[in-house]
């Protein structure tokens, strides 16, 4: 992150600022989704946008995720640059045909003639006491699908820079925001900037172990890294920032340097993001690893409502700290 960054914004403010700037820059950019206008979404992320850009560009929709996502695909193909709002990532289930069979394939199937410059913004993350249908992190599904790009910002700075890049990208981009991060504050420079896709960010440098973490897990990894420091273990924290394209090089280099790796992601642990990243590292750093790559994701259960149970389903600073110590043989 550049030095000049003085001003602090919350994650939600950073997202809103990226949208506002892009909407001012390009009149084709528009937003639609449920309660996005006056209400500014239940998370208030979009507050004020309808007042500045009008109801024509900030469009309230019925509760029709498939329908308005499909409308987004067609609007994108014909000259608008829609940013579609899916309130909870759990509702991606309803948009999969539009995103996977339509948005992701239109460019390739048409021999490169049609383009789908749309962004689908949605949320991920548990521990909000919202139970099994409002707590999932389903980004692995989209990362699996050729034709889509998948963005997982972990800080206000990254959120703003990556969202501006997403809106300017000529492909369908799925942009995941951690519900629990919206109030998180961080430096965001006043001046214009964008962040390229496929470039991982070293959130913390270290020597003994690499913690690869996405989205909500980055703060957890940084917290664990602090604890590890106390235990005499120097942890490097790497945030891929986009799961597709994936910056394999940076991940592998770090693994080669530290020789020990934990991959952290809030999606379900099986057949998801940790498996892909762990495989990339296990292959790329095969001759350097001192221990198997450790994977930590959401427990393989529907997210329970009961707080003491829900808190067990997601990796925490403490569980990561302990896993790292074991991996480093210092438990």
């Amino acid at each position: 992150m550049p030095e000049i960054a003085q001003r602090e914004l919350t994650f939600a403010q950073a997202v809103r600022e990226a949208l506002a700037e892009e909407m001012r820059r390009d009149s084709r950019v528009c937003i639609f989704g449920e309660d996005v206008a006056e209400a500014g979404t239940p998370f208030k992320v979009l507050s004020g946008l309808v007042e500045e850009f009008g109801a024509e560009r900030v469009l309230d929709t019925p509760i029709s995720e498939a329908g308005f996502t499909g409308m987004g695909v067609g609007a994108a193909m014909t000259g608008l640059r829609p940013v579609v709002d899916i309130m909870f990532g759990d509702f991606l289930t309803l948009t999969m045909d539009q995103m996977v069979n339509q948005a992701a394939k239109a460019h390739y199937m048409s021999g490169g003639t049609w383009k789908v410059p749309m962004v689908l913004r949605t949320t991920l993350g548990a521990t909000r006491r919202s139970a099994a249908q409002h707590s999932q992190s389903l980004h692995a599904w989209l990362s699996h699908v050729p034709g889509l790009k998948v963005v997982m910002p972990s800080t206000p700075y990254d959120a703003k820079g990556l969202l501006k890049t997403a809106i300017r990208d000529d492909n369908p981009v799925v942009f995941f925001e951690d519900k629990m991060s919206y109030k998180q504050k961080g430096p965001v420079p006043e001046q214009e900037y964008t962040i390229p896709f496929g470039v991982a960010d070293v959130k913390r440098e270290g020597e003994d172990i690499t913690l690869v973490a996405t989205s909500s897990m980055v703060q957890v990894a940084l917290g664990a890294a602090k604890l590890l420091e106390g235990a005499g273990i120097s942890a490097e924290v790497i945030d891929p920032r986009t799961t597709w394209p994936l910056d394999e090089k940076t991940l592998v280099e770090s693994a080669k340097k530290t020789s020990r790796v934990i991959v952290l992601d809030e999606g379900y642990g099986r057949y998801g993001v940790t498996g892909e990243i762990a495989s990339v590292i296990a292959e790329g750093a095969f001759f350097n690893l001192e221990a198997p790559v450790k994977r930590m994701g959401a427990m393989h259960v529907p997210i329970p409502f009961s707080p003491p149970l829900e808190d067990l389903t997601v990796p925490t600073e403490q569980t990561v700290f302990e896993a790292a110590r074991i991996l480093c043989g210092k438990a």
């Binding site: 509760i63 329908g67 409502f305």
Partner: protein, 332 residues
């Protein structure tokens, strides 16, 4: 749960005993939700809850027309449906607090209360998420000739979900014993239904071959009467129905939705509460018909207040599930 009445005379079926029962059931919902809001403000409840206050006549009028073995599916605003179908407040509060004594051992919470004993297939946090489930329950009833009927409750926001029309078409084709009950409380989260719903709501049933009617959802006797007709019709094998109940939620979309002026006026809320309150109007009718004395109704209210107080105490004191339960019941 159903007090026997001649379906053909359903329109005039509500008499003293039943009338008082309808009032009592509505009061239980009203006072239950009062406590839920209390638990939220006292920060004793994890997460949020969507209160049914103001819509009591719908759940009660419908469920009183059902047998205990009949099925219902419910929504994120489901407390009223669960109570009306026979759930007990203590285990419901326990569920809302994530306790082991809850209907779902604390794993479901406010939006997922389910109870096989009362035919409750579960509240659902996906808007329109249970339309397929209710239709499938009706398919089972028809295939196995059990004589059961399934009722699918949903808010008018669910009219935006295409799957509703897919399953109504299926129910009509197979003549399934299911009643789709649309609770039109005028708002989705923060948007008036006129901004999200084009065309004609009733036609959204008939266009798919489903018999459609609407009713004043604040008049429990009217809801009960039409429910009687549509449920017996379904039970007799005459096919599905779509019932639109016009109603209103008194409070926010959820307990945290306090400032609502930007999407609806205080005056609008006041008018519904004063002129069209289902409990007040039912009480006045019962008294005017000399079916009950005012004192009796006051007594019922006090009694239920006490029931709720005890239920809350039970739930607050109840233990959380054992931590090892976290990965139990993922698979049967």
């Amino acid at each position: 749960m159903k007090t026997e009445t001649d379906p053909t005379r359903a329109e005039t079926a509500v008499q003293g005993e039943l009338g008082i029962r309808l009032y009592r059931q509505m009061m239980r919902i009203r006072l239950f939700e009062e406590q839920v809001n209390e638990l939220y403000t006292r920060a004793l409840m994890p997460g949020l809850a969507h209160l049914y206050t103001g819509e009591e006549a719908v759940a009660v009028g419908i469920c009183e027309a059902l047998n205990k073995s009949d099925y219902i599916t419910s929504t994120h605003r489901g407390h009223g449906h669960c109570l009306a179908k026979g759930a007990t407040p203590d285990r419901m509060f326990a569920e809302l607090l994530g306790k082991e004594a809850g209907y779902c051992r604390g794993k479901g919470g406010s939006m997922h209360i389910a109870d096989p004993a009362t035919g409750n297939l579960g509240a659902n946090a996906i808007v329109c998420g249970s339309a397929g489930i209710a239709t499938g329950a009706a398919l089972t009833a028809k295939r196995l000739k059990t004589g059961q009927v399934a009722v699918c409750f949903f808010g008018e926001g669910a009219l935006g979900q295409g799957v509703l029309y897919e399953v109504m078409n299926l129910a009509a084709l197979y003549k399934l014993p299911v009643v789709y009950v649309c609770e039109n409380n005028l708002y989705t989260e923060y948007t008036h239904f006129s901004e999200t719903t084009a065309g004609d709501i009733l036609a959204r049933g008939t266009a798919f071959g489903v018999h459609a009617e609407s009713v004043d959802g604040q008049d429990v006797r009217a809801v009960y009467a039409v429910a009687q007709r549509l449920v017996s019709r379904a039970r007799r094998g005459e096919g599905p129905a779509f019932l639109v109940c016009n109603t209103y939620r008194y409070t926010g979309h959820h307990v945290g939705d306090i400032n609502r002026e930007y999407y609806r006026s205080k005056q609008e809320e006041q008018e519904w509460k004063t002129k069209r309150d289902p409990l007040k109007n039912m009480a006045e009718w019962l008294i005017s018909q000399k079916l009950v004395a005012a004192g009796t109704l006051k007594g019922i209210e006090d009694e239920i207040r006490e029931e709720m107080r005890i239920a809350v105490e039970f739930a607050v004191a109840a233990p959380y599930p054992d931590l090892k339960e976290v990965d139990q019941d993922v698979y049967a």
